[in-house]
Symmetry: C2
C-alpha cells in the first residue's frame, strides 16, 4: 500500500493524508490502519486535559519545543469536542502551526468530532496509531476537559496530565473527584498568579483524601508558567519519570492492553454491524420500519439477527 | 415482568427504578426495555440545547408548568455531559425538583455520562423510551450545547430547540453553522437584555444564508424571558406547530425511523460484541495480549472472529 509506505518512511504529506483517510472511515481507513499496525507501540502517548483557558495549547507547545531541543520528535493531536464541525479546527491549526511551523520533527493536527458517535475516541485512536507508526517519539493528545472526552483520552494515553489554574472555585470540586482517577501528573499553570500555592495545597489535600497512591504512583503537582516556558523542564521530567515507572512495574503493557481492548471492541462492533447490514441488504430498511411502528422490539430483533 | 408492569401502570417509583436499571445496562436492562417497547412511540420528544448560562433549566421548567396547566404530563431528562460522575447530577435533581415537586404529572431525572462510550446517547435513549412508555405526553431532553451531545440529542428528538442569549460574540459564529443544521426552533432567552433584537436579526440573517428552509420548515425565532415566564406560551405554540408540521408532511415517521435506526445500531453492536466475547471466553484475553504485542492487527483479528 503506497500511502502506508510513504507514511512509514516519514513523509509528512502522506501522514496528513493518512489521518484524513482514517477520519473518513470505511474500507480505505481499515486497509491503512491494518497496514501500519505492526509498526505502532513505540511512542509515548501523553494526554493533556484541563478547563478552557487553562493554557493547554501553550503548555503543549512549550513541551513540544523542550522535547525537540532534546532531540525527540513530537506529534500533537488537538481534540476539540466543542466543535462538531470543521471550522474551529482548521482555524486552530493555522494559529498553532506558527510558532512550531517548518520543523519536520513536529507535526500538529486538530480534530473535531463531526458528530459521529464515539467519533472523538475513534478518530483520536486512529491518529495516535498513525503518528506512532510514522515514528514520533512523543504523541501529545490535547483535549478540553469536558467529561466524557477526558475519560476517553485517559484510556488512550500512557500518561495523563491535568492542567489546573489558580483560583478554581468550589463548584469545580465535584468534577475533581473524577479527575483524581485519571491524573498521573498535575500541572498548576499560570503559577505566577495569586492563589497558586493554595491550588497546589488543595490538590495535595484532595490526593491525600483519595487514599494511598494507586499502582505505587503518587501524582506529582508541578507549578509552571507555560507562557514564559517556566517549569517546562520539570513537567517533562515528570512525564519521563512516569513512563519509567510504568515500564519498571509492568504497567505499560497493562495500559497498552487496555488501550488495545477499547480500540478492538470498537472495531469488532463496527465490523459486526456492517456485516449484519450487508447480509440483510434491502431487509434492513424494512426492519427499521417495523421497529419504528413498534411491531417488534429492537432487542428481540437484534437477537434474531445475530442468532 | 413486575417492574415493567408497575412502570406502565404509572407508578413513579417503578419509573425511577427502571431508569436506574437501564443505566446499569446488561440483561436486566434489555429485558425491561424489551418489555416496554411496544408501548413507546406516543410522546412528543423535544430536545433543548444551548450554551451554559443560556437559561435552559429555567426555560424547561417554565415550559413544563405551561404544559401541566394545559393538562399534559411532562417528563424531563437533564443530560450533563460535563459530569462523568454522579455528584453533579444528584445535586441537580434536588435543586430542580423544588419548584415542580409533588406533582405526579411531572417527572425529572438528571443523567451523567459516567464515562461510558456512547454513554449519554445510550442512557438518554433508554430514559426517553421509559418515560414515553410510562405515558408522558411530552418528554423534554435538556443538554448543554457541547458539540457531540447536541448532535446526538437532535437525532433523539422530534423537535430540537436551541436557546440563545443576547450578546453572543463573533467567536460563536463557527459553532452556529452546526446549530443551523439541527435547530427546529430558536429561543432568544433573557430577551429583556440589551442586544436581544440584534441577536434575533443575526439568527435570521444566518438562517437566510443557509438557503431555503429544509423540509418546508422555517425555524421560528421566539424571544422569551423564562425567569418571568414571558414568551413561554409562544415557545410552546411553536413546539406544537412543529409537531403538526412533522405529522402532516410524513416527517414524523421519518424522524422516528432515524431515531430507531440509531438505537438499533447500538443494540446490534453491543449484542454482537457480547456474543463474540462469550464465544471466545478465555481466548479474549489471549487475543488482547497478541494485539498489544502487535503480533496481529485488530482489523484482521476482527475479520477472522466474525467470519
Amino acid at each position: 500500500m503506497e500511502l502506508a509506505e510513504s507514511l512509514l518512511a516519514g513523509n509528512r504529506r502522506a501522514l496528513a493524508r493518512g489521518i484524513s483517510v482514517a477520519e473518513s472511515g470505511g474500507p480505505p481507513a481499515r486497509a491503512l490502519l491494518s497496514a501500519i499496525y505492526s509498526r505502532t507501540g513505540r511512542a509515548h502517548i501523553v494526554g493533556v486535559t484541563g478547563s478552557p483557558g487553562a493554557g493547554k495549547s501553550t503548555l503543549v507547545n512549550a513541551l513540544a519545543l523542550h522535547w525537540r531541543r532534546a532531540g525527540k520528535t513530537v506529534g500533537i493531536i488537538a481534540v476539540d469536542p466543542t466543535s462538531p464541525f470543521t471550522g474551529g479546527a482548521i482555524l486552530g491549526d493555522r494559529i498553532r502551526m506558527q510558532p512550531l511551523g517548518g520543523d519536520p520533527g513536529i507535526f500538529i493536527r486538530s480534530m473535531a468530532s463531526r458528530g459521529r458517535l464515539g467519533g472523538i475516541a475513534h478518530a483520536t485512536s486512529d491518529a495516535i496509531d498513525l503518528l506512532d507508526a510514522a515514528g514520533f517519539d512523543m504523541v501529545l493528545v490535547e483535549t478540553v476537559g469536558a467529561g466524557q472526552s477526558e475519560v476517553e483520552i485517559a484510556s488512550a494515553a500512557h500518561t495523563t496530565m491535568v492542567i489546573e489554574v489558580p483560583g478554581m472555585g468550589d463548584d469545580v470540586q465535584a468534577i475533581k473527584a473524577g479527575i483524581l482517577e485519571i491524573a498521573d501528573i498535575f500541572v498548576v499553570n499560570k503559577a505566577d498568579r495569586e492563589g497558586a500555592d493554595a491550588t497546589v495545597h488543595q490538590l495535595r489535600a484532595m490526593l491525600r483524601l483519595g487514599g494511598p497512591p494507586r499502582d505505587g504512583w503518587e501524582p506529582p503537582i508541578v507549578p509552571a508558567v507555560a507562557m514564559r516556558e517556566e517549569g517546562i523542564a520539570q513537567v517533562a521530567a515528570q512525564v519521563e519519570r512516569h513512563l519509567a515507572h510504568l515500564t519498571d512495574t509492568g504497567q505499560k503493557l497493562a495500559r497498552e492492553r487496555q488501550r488495545v481492548a477499547r480500540e478492538f471492541e470498537l472495531i469488532v462492533q463496527e465490523a459486526a454491524l456492517e456485516r449484519v447490514r450487508a447480509r440483510l441488504a434491502g431487509g434492513w430498511d424494512a426492519l427499521l420500519t417495523r421497529l419504528a411502528e413498534r411491531e417488534i422490539d429492537p432487542f428481540s430483533a437484534a437477537g434474531e439477527l445475530l442468532a
